[in-house]
């Protein structure tokens, strides 16, 4: 009994992610003497902070058996709305509120079509990806808007607490909240149940539509926060800001072992996947591996993340099969 649970535990996705993570760290240490420096470790989070913040809420969306492809476009749109309003002479507070409002609204539009009209989220959010990006481009045209107040830029660029920037602190607070919500609250349990089977969920009195609506609004709102963060980090915004981020975000979540069919996955896994991807990219970058090769490696990793869980399941069924275990 003991031995079996040990094997089961070893075959768990999170354990394997942890092993990969350790291996990546060891390789990085051998590749570069600068890898372990505190500045580099902070940088590693700082440079991708917007993506990993959005990955948290994407985890909930995918567990709920939906997907949101429009997150990066909402990030861009929110950043552009923020810059546009600020550029028009309004206060910083107004600009930030406008950006957050637009983000939540964009999420609500996605949510309405998915939850209440019943269209597949893949289609709805693909349309969102194109439309919100288009809006952002219309808003700022070919310009780049910058010259934000210094305090605002500093919030995105300079350390706030010890070596940690505001964004990094926000990420860890978000992670803690999401872990509590997903693994300790009724809302989290409902998210899993709806993700597993929407019929079963509705039959047992869960308001699946409202749940989906809330998730998409949350996704839009968090994307807008990430958009404002990227505006602060770069100090300038243009129509193409955050373009293409959605694939990196979804990669992190899927590698974390969240099933693309919904119903299963943990934030521990996603957290480990984030650590692996960030460290891997950082290591390759320090070793001067070009962007094209980096993309290839991350792609390979994602393919494995889809293949291996299925393989593991097959192995586990074999192990638990009474015919084979009876022989031991």
């Amino acid at each position: 009994m003991n031995r079996k649970s040990l094997i089961d535990r070893l075959l768990q996705w999170e354990t394997l992610l942890a092993i990969i993570f350790v291996v990546v760290v060891l390789i990085n240490i051998s590749l570069s003497p600068f890898y372990l420096s505190l500045q580099n470790q902070v940088n590693l989070f700082h440079l991708s902070i917007e993506k990993i913040i959005v990955a948290l809420v994407m985890t909930l969306i995918i567990i709920n058996a939906e997907i949101d492809l429009s997150v990066a476009s909402i990030m861009g749109l929110a950043a552009c709305v923020f810059a546009f309003v600020w550029d028009d002479g309004f206060t910083l507070g107004t600009a930030i509120s406008a950006a957050l409002l637009v983000g939540a609204l964009a999420g609500a539009i996605n949510g309405f079509f998915v939850a209440y009209v019943g269209l597949p989220s893949l289609v709805v959010t693909l349309a969102g990806l194109i439309a919100y990006r288009g809006l952002a481009r219309v808003l700022v045209e070919d310009r780049s808007i910058g010259d934000f107040p210094e305090g605002f830029d500093a919030l995105g660029q300079d350390p706030l607490f010890g070596p940690l920037t505001f964004g990094i602190i926000l990420f860890f607070i978000g992670l803690a909240i999401m872990i509590v919500v997903l693994q300790r609250s009724g809302f989290g349990r409902k998210t899993y149940v709806v993700g597993n089977s929407i019929e079963v969920a509705e039959y047992s009195g869960v308001n699946a539509k409202r749940l989906k609506m809330i998730l998409f609004i949350l996704s839009g709102l968090v994307s807008a926060i990430a958009g404002i963060l990227i505006a602060a980090r770069l100090g300038a915004v243009r129509g193409s800001t955050a373009e293409g981020f959605e694939l990196d975000i979804i990669t992190m979540v899927l590698l974390g072992g969240v099933s693309i069919f919904g119903g299963s996955g943990t934030l521990t896994g996603v957290g480990l996947a984030i650590l692996i991807i960030l460290n891997m990219r950082n290591g390759m970058s320090l070793a001067n591996v070009s962007g094209n090769a980096q993309t290839g490696v991350i792609g390979l990793l994602l393919i494995l993340s889809v293949l291996v869980p299925n393989l593991l399941q097959w192995v586990q069924t074999k192990l638990n099969d009474p015919r084979t275990s009876g022989q031991t």
Partner: protein, 386 residues
């Protein structure tokens, strides 16, 4: 029991494959990078090895010493950061920078770039990592606008020399000096003049540019428009449209065909990008339109000569990207070593290219530049001579 062990081992094997797979990918890239360096002389390779050893040791002692006091003995480590990888002009710039490194007896610059889909964010990451890595200088061809400023500023504050080449940081914040390949206003004039020659002074022109955001492309197009409006010589030349091919061959190819279809009276496609001009020339050639719609712009001789022979591209212009990389490397070296300061009037010697002076950049509100030189215009007539 036996089957359990086998399954466990095979799973672990799969992961070791993943890990070693990544390691192999790394070495693959390294090997290719080494081969592209045109087999340096053996003696120089040795000196490079020694130089790298030195910087490793001195890193542990004191990094500042190197940046303040690099002599011929101490290594100058630079990163050449192109807009993105896989574009031949940037490879040529890298060859030029490697030439400069060879003549200065320095280690070859690292040539690292993002993918085209991730260019702005990727450039920022590479710039940040270059600081972490302890490089002395970063030589950037900026693909975005001012988004890279904050990272460039941080790098400068950390003691890294940041210069731009090919495409500057518009606000010049975070950038020390920009190495301009040609005067941006002259580009407009050269394009107008080529159009004038090809069309005998009269006709419709469509512009096929790279990306909407590319600072250098936009400046050249604006300069050309200004020339056409202000100089009566060009009054019968008309720009009917400006389209974008994102420096992607297939997008540029179909954009060129769309232009020819949308404007039946179109006489010339002017592409101020080496990818765009090649795609447009190929498209017109494939469509059999070369006699009615000519192509011109900025192109690489190797790529354009076949189209010139077919009569599709009567004239095109370009500067040497090899020289551009070479000059950028020399400038970064002299700035880092402390031979010159980033100030107007400072002069420096750049090997085979001669002497250059830092001046104010007239094409931007603020910023310094070093102007490399003027265009080479390639004409059909010259080709027949050869």
């Amino acid at each position: 029991m036996f089957s359990r062990q086998i399954s466990l081992i095979s799973t672990l094997l799969l992961f070791s494959w993943l890990v070693t797979g990544c390691a192999f990918l790394d070495t693959d890239v390294d090997v290719r990078a080494d081969q592209s360096e045109e087999n340096p002389v053996v003696i120089e390779e040795i000196s490079i090895d020694i130089a790298t050893d030195q910087i490793d040791q001195s890193n542990e002692n004191d990094r500042n010493k190197i940046t303040q006091n690099v002599t011929g003995d101490e290594a100058f480590n630079a990163v050449l950061l192109p807009k993105f990888m896989g574009i031949s002009v940037f490879d040529k710039a890298n060859e030029g920078a490697a030439d400069a490194a060879r003549s200065l007896r320095q280690p070859f610059p690292a040539f690292v770039g993002p993918t085209s889909s991730n260019s702005t964010q990727g450039q920022i990451e590479i710039l940040n990592d270059a600081v972490t890595h302890g490089y002395d200088a970063v030589l950037i061809s900026n693909n975005g606008g001012d988004e890279i400023s904050a990272a460039a500023q941080a790098a400068t504050e950390a003691g890294v020399t940041v210069i731009t080449w090919d495409s500057p940081i518009p606000s010049a914040v975070g950038e020390s000096v920009f190495v301009a390949q040609v005067d941006f206003d002259e580009t407009g004039l050269v394009m107008a003049e080529m159009a004038h020659n090809i069309l005998d002074g009269r006709g419709q022109i469509a512009i096929l540019s790279a990306g909407r955001d590319a600072a250098n492309q936009n400046a050249w197009i604006a300069a050309m428009e200004t020339v056409l409006i202000n100089d009566p010589k060009y009054q019968e030349l008309e720009i009917v449209d400006t389209a974008y091919g994102n420096d992607n061959f297939s997008i540029s190819y179909s954009t060129a065909i769309n232009l020819a279809n949308n404007y039946p009276d179109l006489d010339l496609i002017m592409a101020p990008t080496t990818v765009g001009i090649q795609a447009a020339a190929q498209a017109m050639q494939d469509e059999g339109l070369c006699q009615t719609v000519k192509t011109s712009g900025l192109g690489l001789p190797d790529e354009m000569v076949p189209h010139m022979i077919e009569g599709c591209v009567p004239q095109f212009a370009l500067w040497s990207f090899n020289d551009l990389g070479y000059l950028a490397y020399y400038l970064a070296y002299h700035l880092t070593v402390g031979n010159i300061e980033p100030e107007v009037g400072e002069t420096f010697f750049a090997g085979r290219l001669g002497r250059f002076t830092i001046e104010e950049d007239p094409t931007r509100e603020q910023g310094l530049r070093v102007l490399m030189g003027s265009f080479t215009i390639y004409k059909e007539q010259d080709l027949l001579w050869q």
